[in-house]
């Protein structure tokens, strides 16, 4: 009985986090914020659902398998998100207009795909246009 309740709680929490990941992917303003919601909430949701399966089956072979999937997800999701984010930044995907800081700006040489410690001259930094510039109403709200 207690185990059933635990399985129900784990699977419900996992499904809820996956729901949040889907909504975050739909509603977040720019690519990097969307990526943070899918990479973190998605992995947490899948991990909780798999943990629920491991508790439900309560069998050494099956539970080890689902724990192995959790381990694999925790290992690969950040790597995949980092690779996509890196490729997208270098590709010139615009940041949200409310972005406060962009540490890479001016340190990336687009001709050779390398990062420099010293800031590059202005002529070599590509112009990145902010996505979704605020309309009149939003500008009112921001103030």
């Amino acid at each position: 009985m207690l185990r059933e309740l635990l399985v129900m709680f784990l699977m419900l929490a996992g499904a809820f986090f996956m729901f949040l990941a889907g909504i975050g992917l739909l509603r977040m303003p720019d690519l990097f914020l969307r990526m943070s919601s899918t990479a973190k909430a998605g992995t947490l949701g899948a991990g909780l659902i798999l943990l629920g399966a491991a508790v439900h089956f309560n069998n050494f072979g099956v539970s080890t398998r689902s724990l192995a999937i959790i381990f694999f997800l925790l290992l690969t999701a950040p790597v995949a998100a980092h690779m996509i984010g890196r490729a997208a930044y270098f590709d010139g995907v615009p940041l949200w207009h409310g972005t406060v800081q962009d540490d890479l700006r001016g340190h990336y040489r687009s001709s050779t795909h390398t990062l420099e410690v010293e800031p590059l001259p202005e002529s070599e930094t590509p112009e990145i246009v902010a996505e979704g510039a605020p309309s009149e109403d939003e500008a009112e709200l921001d103030r």
């Binding site: 899918t38 689902s66 996509i84 997208a88 590709d91």
Partner: protein
């Protein structure tokens, strides 16, 4: 009671899937579509595991393993392609 519980889980997962699909169709840039494909495969994995628990079939977990590996390799391949394209 259990029926309601499973319906709630499936509705939550399906709503997330609909959001990811809308982003896949709309996504202004290519990386948006890539991350929504990634999320869709993770959500499909969640569906498969939920069905494995509901129908008490541990064999479905093997499908989840394969899907996790495929989605990781696909995302890495897309990232490699995006970075070399420019």
């Amino acid at each position: 009671m259990m029926e309601v519980f499973w319906n709630v889980i499936l509705v939550l997962l399906s709503t997330g899937l609909v959001g990811a699909f809308i982003r896949l169709a709309r996504g202004p840039h290519l990386p948006d579509r890539v991350i929504s494909l990634d999320l869709i495969s993770i959500l499909a994995m969640g569906f498969i595991v939920a069905y494995a628990v509901r129908f008490n079939q541990p064999a479905f977990l093997d499908v989840a393993i394969i899907l996790a590996i495929i989605s990781f390799l696909g995302t890495v391949a897309f990232a490699y392609y995006l970075e070399r394209r420019i």
